[in-house]
Symmetry: C4
Subunit: 233 residues, 4 copies
Amino acid sequence: MSRYQHIQEAAYAANMQLPQLGLVLFTFGNASAADDAMGVFAIKPSGMPYADLSPAKMVIVDFDGKTVEGTLRPSSDTLTHAVLYKHWQGIGGIVHTHSTYATAWSQSLRDIPLYGTTHADHTTTSIPCAPPMSDEMIAGNYEYQTGFQIMQTFAEKKLDYHEVEMVLVGCHAPFTWGRTAAQAVYNSAVLEELARLALLTEQINTQCAIMKEALIKKHFERKHGEGAYYGQE
Amino acid sequence: MSRYQHIQEAAYAANMQLPQLGLVLFTFGNASAADDAMGVFAIKPSGMPYADLSPAKMVIVDFDGKTVEGTLRPSSDTLTHAVLYKHWQGIGGIVHTHSTYATAWSQSLRDIPLYGTTHADHTTTSIPCAPPMSDEMIAGNYEYQTGFQIMQTFAEKKLDYHEVEMVLVGCHAPFTWGRTAAQAVYNSAVLEELARLALLTEQINTQCAIMKEALIKKHFERKHGEGAYYGQE
Amino acid sequence: MSRYQHIQEAAYAANMQLPQLGLVLFTFGNASAADDAMGVFAIKPSGMPYADLSPAKMVIVDFDGKTVEGTLRPSSDTLTHAVLYKHWQGIGGIVHTHSTYATAWSQSLRDIPLYGTTHADHTTTSIPCAPPMSDEMIAGNYEYQTGFQIMQTFAEKKLDYHEVEMVLVGCHAPFTWGRTAAQAVYNSAVLEELARLALLTEQINTQCAIMKEALIKKHFERKHGEGAYYGQE
Amino acid sequence: MSRYQHIQEAAYAANMQLPQLGLVLFTFGNASAADDAMGVFAIKPSGMPYADLSPAKMVIVDFDGKTVEGTLRPSSDTLTHAVLYKHWQGIGGIVHTHSTYATAWSQSLRDIPLYGTTHADHTTTSIPCAPPMSDEMIAGNYEYQTGFQIMQTFAEKKLDYHEVEMVLVGCHAPFTWGRTAAQAVYNSAVLEELARLALLTEQINTQCAIMKEALIKKHFERKHGEGAYYGQE
């Protein structure tokens, strides 16, 4: 039995949820689960159909992207996961999908505007879209640089990655994260719905305005503030 | 056995229909069932996955929003339900969802125009969109005020809540109701389809006009007038 | 055993296909099957959920709309079916739905343009949209007049109802028919897809032109002309 | 046991995947599997419902379109398959569908622009749309000419059919191919998603630009270049 079984099981469960939630076609996505103290994460093997996965097939990789355990090649996006785990504290899981609406927003190079309370229940700002990297960064260690591009976007926009747990990578597709892999999966499904809602909102009203500050504040605090009163805890 | 079992079962059945009808993602919705004579309603516990629900978990709340029976915290939208039950007569069930198309119309701050007989089969007017509340109302008892905002919209537009059993809360999402919880669920599914139809209609014909009065009258009376001849009764 | 069992079974099977093909929400649709020689048709009872149907519950109605056998009230659209059976020869089944895209085109009061071979495989012209009736016709025997409105549209546009087996009723929704009830159901599903394709085509290319005549002719004849070579017969 | 059993089974499996992937309505599609050395391919019988298929019913046809084994009539699109197998080397399977979004792009007569990495993971160029044929070609041996029209489009646009394994036939619908029938099916599903993503991208950002060259190159090489590092081989 692997000493990494707990994160293998978490990563496996997270990966298996992606097709069930309609977030991936074929193998267009991957989820990972990290153990901060051990400095490693478990991630989907590259290009393997979801039906062929098992917890034991999850590859164990350290925060520099080096495979620690497992004979399969880890996801081609592994270095992006590694960079975020290494530099951001308290992240227990990361999910990458090419879910349709979030990917279309990524391709359009636009942030997703905050048009309603469904969005504000999860974050108080637009969902940021990281611009495409410079040609030099792309030609270099691409997936590694993708991680830094995400971090730089958060730095420039002064966003807190514990408050905004999702990003669009320009011309590519979304990444989400959370304190657990299950939370990262949840955020991927929420992002897809927010992306769809925002497009429909703009189609219904081409003059649509961002939701006003008082409502943004109220809805986020219902779920996340000190006086949060949503849920059972 | 609880003396509230009848409304707990009705509320449970209504809540369980919401994911089956594709109207909710995760826990983004709630249904309640009221007993007018007892002055109480049964409502979904807050933030609990639909798969974990049972009739006994439905929380019993009075029309002032005070929990009467049950140890779980009721839905965060409980006060909105309470206000409508208290002030509107003959309402047996209320449903709140963030269903995609109805929510997009809510975010666009537009009433849903009456473009066809599918709409007229259910109501003779546009589906009203209540404007966002003032900042003071939002900062105050938000969910309680949401109920009053809905009532005020109906008063200003001179709408009869027995004739129009649905509303869009601006920047938020829809509420529907009916003489039973099952009817409120039905209205939520109908509203979602009317919202989708109206957007598609405007996309196909950007100069689309409201349906003419004679057809509105005819279709509503087929189902609801004195000489109604739709259905088996 | 009813002497109408053959059409009851055909009508039942046709009705049950409608929700399976995603063409109806709740009870928003009805199918009938006729026996020309007997001068009657079997049709869905009004407002009854599909899950509660059985062949024996199909109501037998003559071509003047009078119930011949059965205790349930027939579909509220029965007179429209009756008029078409009475005046058009060789129709074995009729289907009415409020399927989303076809209904949106109906509400937009536009014919569905012939943009591609999927459309031409089934008909050589636009799918006609019958304009809403005069207020007098609406206030009179509405469903009866709907049948005449459809026939008049075919007469004015010089369409052959054996060649074009579908129509949009303006502000309302589609009707389709065919030599059998099964063929009418097939046509309803095809119409819904043609309606969806046409909207998407206009969204992708706002300057889109009707498909050229040579292709229209070729594709229709592949399936329907004398030298048809599609299928096994 | 037929000596063609291996391609019959491959063609059968490919055909059965089409409805499962949501790519065909009724019988609007067909898949074939070829054995280059034997100079034949197995293809779906014309107009037969997917539920009635079996491997033994797949018709064996040579690269000139002549039936070699089987009593059923082969797909009406058989000659298009035959032409491509005869003139293009190393094609093991071909799929034709009328999948919704790819068909809408075909009807719009536009190439699908390369807007993101999901697209670049599969090809480095726009997905080409072959213009409708001349009236003479249509009136002649239509399906045979469709094959040549596809080949001519690839020649004119200087595309490599091993690098771009998909095409839109103008006013008609897509064809895809690959080294195996399974790969051709995969390409059909990918094409449908790329078509949907491209439309949504243009709806979100009407000024959307083609993705820059460095990203196109990087993503294609991740999966297909000499240093490819996606997947397990």
